[in-house]
């Protein structure tokens, strides 16, 4: 499919949370793995994240959420992507995500869920496997 193409990914920090260590570390790891990584910076709204994703023609949006608000934020993002007919953009999420919520996120259509401490190769392989 797209295996010759460089995957473009937007690492985004939605909402008010400012803990960006994980987002930056994963950005660097994905870049070292050969992906084109854009980092949104902090305090982004879901609308703005989608706008950037469209403008930059990314293949994947990677959300980093540490506060526990991953369910409402992901639900919002998935709904808006669907409404805008942008279902070809894959969504993955990482951060402080309890086991019990993983299934809920998968049911929303989130394609990869990476709780803190997930090994880089799992994140990289999961994203590559989407293409």
């Amino acid at each position: 499919m797209k295996d010759k193409k460089r995957i473009r990914i937007l690492i985004a920090k939605p909402g008010l949370d400012g803990h960006d260590r994980g987002a930056k570390v994963v950005s660097l790891a994905l870049r070292d793995a050969g992906m084109e990584v854009l980092y949104s910076g902090l305090h982004q709204s879901v609308d703005l994240i989608i706008a950037v994703a469209i403008q930059e023609a990314v293949d994947v949006i990677g959300l980093s959420i540490m506060t526990g608000a991953h369910l409402p934020i992901c639900a919002r993002l998935m709904k808006e992507l669907q409404e805008k007919n942008l279902t070809d953009i894959f969504v993955v999420a990482g951060g402080v995500i309890p086991k019990n919520d993983i299934l809920k996120l998968e049911q929303m259509g989130v394609k990869g869920i990476f709780p803190g401490g997930t090994r880089f190769e799992i994140i990289i392989d999961t994203i590559r496997a989407l293409f």
């Binding site: 909402g15 008010l16 260590r21 930056k24 910076g41 709204s45 608000a69 934020i73 402080v96």
Partner: protein
């Protein structure tokens, strides 16, 4: 093994030990090492309570007074937080450390669309004075000191604390609050900033100046190496960067015509305790000494007590793991030990379930008990600075001093802290280190028990603090009712006065106190700042 690099030979014997700050540790130390390091008892240590305070701020250390314990507390609505405050105080805690939810930290009211999903989640929701009145009901303002863990709008919260105390009949001279109020570290790590760098620094310094003049028992800034370390910095950077941040505030205040002796005694620090035990102890001892020397030599501070590096040494969040979470109880005990052996004046421990979410009451209590056991059972009150004179500890304390000074020089070369942050250099540095650390952890160069060694596979569940959706409704309906019933003309008048003070160079604090008394909301007051200052455009360098 701790957060250090261990290079082993084929027989699994340790050949090299390198601490995060770059100190290489020898297999053994003797008198010659002290000689080589140029160690001198009077110059480097002095007796406890004597300049340069390497050993302790007080001659008797914990004998005269055990440390103050301040577990970080707050969630949901002010009502829940008030109950938790009282529970911790009833269990022997002698200071509060208030956690605010993200909308409050970011200057939004609970009904702002940007607050969705976050109201009361990582701390308590505060919209107006009404919330503080509930949260601090039955708290003795003249006896219990409160840390207010908030930065971008710390000025607003300090004003609110004063207005609440006054409402309950305590004069502003008797209250003791420590707003965290260190915006520069938010810009390096933690990320709860709003306004651009310069007006942010102005707000920090307005708060300090006001406290110096009006609130004699408040410590208006807690400079946090803590979060910089959590973001990936080394222990020597943690202290070096914190000192450069503190210098930025000192310089701003001296430009206002204050002399350092008037205010540096009110500065406190928040430093981290996880990692290699010896490196932390060396760090704290070196930090006390360097701070005293810096103030005395560079800022000509004369008063002895103003040379003290006061602060909270604790936390350790980054040391905790989700894997085998009970191990965090053990880790916490050793982090507490590091704090005690370093003469921490105030302390707190992250709870074992904090790798998942904010702690349950049981977990928070366990952290408090850990600290109480250290003071009451294990013997850490027996004598001051028990490790002094150790060939090893004194040698690495000297080495740590040098490492910290080097980090400070690097920041100065970048053009000082404001420039280092505005340009994104520091943030990039810290992120790179976090990445390198994570790689070392994943390839096993750095060992973390239960994570990359002695792993157990499937993890047992732990009972976690549950977020209650009903809190949002309660909070928003109270806010709506308030907006209907308060004197809105008075609110508008006080907000106009705030706007005028913000646009001028006058200190904003008196106007903020006035706004709080009129029940203006956090969102309204922060909105004035947003309109006048704008928001920071964060540099995203990689």
């Amino acid at each position: 093994m701790g957060v250090a690099r261990y290079i082993k030979n084929k027989a699994d014997a340790v050949e090299k030990v390198i601490y995060q700050s770059g100190i290489e540790v020898k297999p053994f130390y003797g008198p010659k090492d002290l000689e080589a390091a140029g160690f001198d008892y009077e110059d480097d240590l002095g007796d406890p309570g004597q300049y340069p305070f390497t050993r302790s701020l007080h001659p008797q250390g914990y004998r005269s007074r055990a440390w103050t314990t301040r577990q970080y507390t707050g969630f949901g609505t002010p009502q829940e937080t008030n109950e938790r405050f009282k529970y911790m105080i009833a269990n022997g805690q002698n200071g509060l450390n208030v956690a605010f939810d993200l909308p409050t930290q970011m200057g939004y009211d609970s009904d702002n669309p940007k607050a969705e999903g976050e109201v009361g989640r990582v701390g308590m929701a505060v919209d107006s004075l009404q919330d503080f009145e509930i949260a601090f009901r039955d708290i003795q303002f003249d006896r219990i000191g409160s840390g207010l863990t908030i930065n971008a709008v710390a000025s607003v919260m300090l004003a609110m604390y004063q207005a609440t105390a006054e409402k309950y009949g305590y004069s502003k001279e008797t209250i003791s609050a420590t707003p965290q109020n260190d915006i520069l570290k938010e810009m390096i790590g933690r990320g709860a900033w709003i306004f651009p760098v310069e007006p942010s620094v102005r707000l920090v310094c307005d708060t300090i100046e006001y406290s110096v003049k009006e609130l004699p028992r408040c410590n208006p800034v807690s400079v946090c190496g803590y979060h910089i370390r959590e973001s990936g910095a080394t222990p020597s950077q943690e202290v070096g960067f914190a000192f450069e941040i503190a210098k930025t505030y000192i310089d701003n205040l001296t430009e206002r015509g204050l002399t350092p002796d008037d205010f540096v005694g009110r500065f406190s620090f928040n430093l981290n305790v996880f990692g290699n035990l010896w490196e932390q102890i060396a760090k704290f001892r070196a930090a006390r000494k360097l701070w005293a020397k810096l103030l005395k030599e560079e800022y000509k501070v004369k008063e002895k007590k103003n040379l003290f590096l006061r602060g909270l040494f604790g936390g350790g969040g980054s040391g905790l793991t989700k894997e085998q979470p009970e191990n965090n109880i053990i880790r916490g005990a050793y982090y507490g030990l590091a704090a005690a052996l370093s003469g921490a004046q105030t302390t707190a421990l992250c709870s074992f379930d904090e790798a998942f979410t904010i702690p349950t009451p049981r977990a928070a209590l366990l952290s408090l008990r850990t600290l109480e056991i250290l003071m009451e059972e294990v013997g850490l009150r027996d004598t001051v600075d028990p490790l002094a004179g150790s060939y090893f500890v004194e040698t690495i304390t000297k080495e740590m001093e040098e490492k910290i000074i080097n980090e400070m020089k690097r920041v100065q070369k970048m053009g000082g802290m404001v420039h280092a942050i505005s340009s994104g250099y520091i943030q990039r540095d810290v992120a790179k280190q976090a990445y390198e650390f994570e790689k070392s952890l994943q390839n096993g160069e750095i060992i973390k028990v239960g994570v990359n060694k002695y792993t157990e596979g499937e993890q047992p569940d732990v009972d976690l603090h549950e977020y209650d959706d009903s809190w949002v409704g309660t909070q928003i309906s109270r806010l709506k009712a308030l907006k209907r019933t308060r004197d809105n003309r008075e609110v508008n008048r006080s907000l106009k006065a705030l706007e005028k003070a913000t646009k001028s160079k006058n200190n904003v604090m008196p106007s903020l106190v006035d706004c709080c008394r009129s029940y203006a909301t956090v969102g309204e007051m922060s909105g004035v700042f947003r309109d006048v200052f704008g928001e920071w455009d964060e540099p995203c360098l990689f």
